[in-house]
Symmetry: C2
Subunit: 314 residues, 2 copies
């Protein structure tokens, strides 16, 4: 008989319209067997250490064994039965903080890498603008851009984040978009010669202002539009004619299409971390119970750096 | 002494805000010498036969000689002195209607060719939507798409144009957008399996509806946004988040970047015209004086097919 344990889980109470509130999300407890089902042959039973990072307790998949660490699609719960391992990766290098696999070495890291290098096709000397620049993805895009020899400016939503961008991540400049009344004028000030590359994380008014300031043959990687996600009616973007006059390429992407680059990514990024050429800031929330508030905080920009949620300390 | 002639010219009276009116445009007459200036070494003096097509009367450029036919950047006047021949091409093949070099074999043709093949990267069996589909560019995009083995639907602004699309240009289907109250539902009806490629000529509400109906990894070539050109405040496009979820590439372009492909284009298109595999419909206005009304007609979609303006019949 497999051991049975109580399993705290975070679930949505119902479909959320508009901005999610903490009351939309509830904590429930169920009973979970610490063993993959006997008839499974591609399943893994894990203990979650962070949201999206776990330790394997049992496995019927030949590539995963008890004790392995994995990152990827897990669950918002203490223990998860992962029925398809398509969305999870085994962690091989553990001489970095383990939580890095929820961020710089996980999905956000790969997102920054694929979006910047594969879509933006940066060249030395180009100008790069990153919105939501202190977030899990943005902070890396800026550092990749600096390593490439670009001029990089980031936007964020408060002074601490702006300081972080300039002092910790080495952005050439940064501004608090909440203090700017005319984003078009702001961007003209920071980019008197225009923007070659925009790494888009926010959408809406910022995108409209960026379009007016893009250079000929500019590239926009559309990674996210967090300002728009919970609006029942998204803001309208008016300056798309700039796509024609400036011959801009604007491309949306999801990281899953680029996971084949993960080995190459690790080969690039691990040494940069070890040599201190890239840094990463995390905002750590303790306990599964802090998950809902951490999620909601993302939409108001409460987190500083990658939002990490610890589920269990080993 | 070079011969001097009177030269009718069409000029803008003043800067136009909003939709141009015929009264914004005036006809004036000046005196022009039928000779390039003595100190020029890259100039051509032409007699305009159509708007954008001319006969060389005198030249100081080694590649152009008296009697040559050219197409490209000329002027809205009877005689033009072209000081830089960068934007003009010598016509070599005259076994097609000469006016074709204002359309199918000129800038609109190259626009359709570059936008469709270079930006949309079409594959056999894909679904293609073309807006303003009976226009100078759209009618060709649809025919290229059919030759490629795609399923093609076009939109236009009246019944005659819709008939033309279906009966003359071989579109699989077509609709009058002015008769549709819910473009999203319309597109769902014509593309139950979604749109792989959108050749964008109009912008605004149509683009918003298309975004909702695009398939994963869809491509949008942004050639024009004629519905937006003369609005003082462009319409807002709200569904850009689809770029992310569907991983869409949307790219604006100007044909000038692709003129190096012109020889390859001619090699492809001339035989198709000669074999009757591609057809082209022109809407011919007689006389330079008809230019202003022809221009204004473009914005209301009065023309059926490529709007050609005859300046002089030889």
């Amino acid at each position: 008989m497999a051991e049975e344990v109580s399993n705290k889980q975070i679930v949505l109470k119902n479909y959320v319209k508009g901005f999610p509130k903490e009351s939309d999300i509830i904590l429930k407890t169920s009973i979970t067997k610490l063993k993959v089902p006997d008839d499974s042959n591609d399943a893994v039973l894990v203990k979650n250490l962070y949201l999206s990072l776990a330790r394997v307790l049992d496995s019927s998949h030949p590539n995963f064994k008890t004790g392995d660490l994995i990152w990827g699609f897990t669950g918002w719960e203490e223990y998860s039965l992962i029925k398809s391992t398509k969305g999870v990766f085994k962690i091989q290098h553990t001489n970095v903080p383990l939580s890095y696999y929820t961020g710089i070495l996980g999905m956000p890291g790969m997102t920054a890498y694929a979006g910047f290098y594969e879509l933006c096709l940066p060249k030395k000397g180009e100008t790069v603008f990153v919105s939501a620049a202190s977030g899990a993805v943005g902070q890396l895009v800026g550092q990749f851009a600096k390593l490439m020899g670009c001029y990089v400016v980031g936007s964020a939503g408060n002074k601490d984040k702006v300081d972080l961008l300039k002092k910790k991540f080495g952005f050439d400049d940064a501004f608090n978009y909440k203090e700017e009344s005319d984003l078009n004028a702001t961007l003209k000030r920071y980019f008197p010669n225009g923007i070659d590359i925009y790494f888009e994380n926010v959408g809406g008014k910022m995108l409209d202002a960026v379009l007016l300031n893009m250079n000929l043959h500019g590239r926009i990687a559309v990674c996210g539009m967090i300002s728009q996600y919970n609006l029942e009616e998204p803001e309208g973007v008016q300056n798309l004619f700039c796509l024609i006059t400036k011959q801009i390429r604007m491309e949306g992407f999801l990281v899953f299409d680029y996971y084949h680059l993960y080995p190459k990514f690790l080969e690039t990024v691990l040494p940069l971390i070890e040599e201190g050429k890239i840094t990463y800031v995390e905002d750590i929330a303790e306990g599964l119970e802090s998950g809902p508030s951490a999620l909601i905080g993302l939409f108001s920009g409460r987190n500083v750096g990658k939002q990490v949620v610890v589920v269990a300390r080993e």
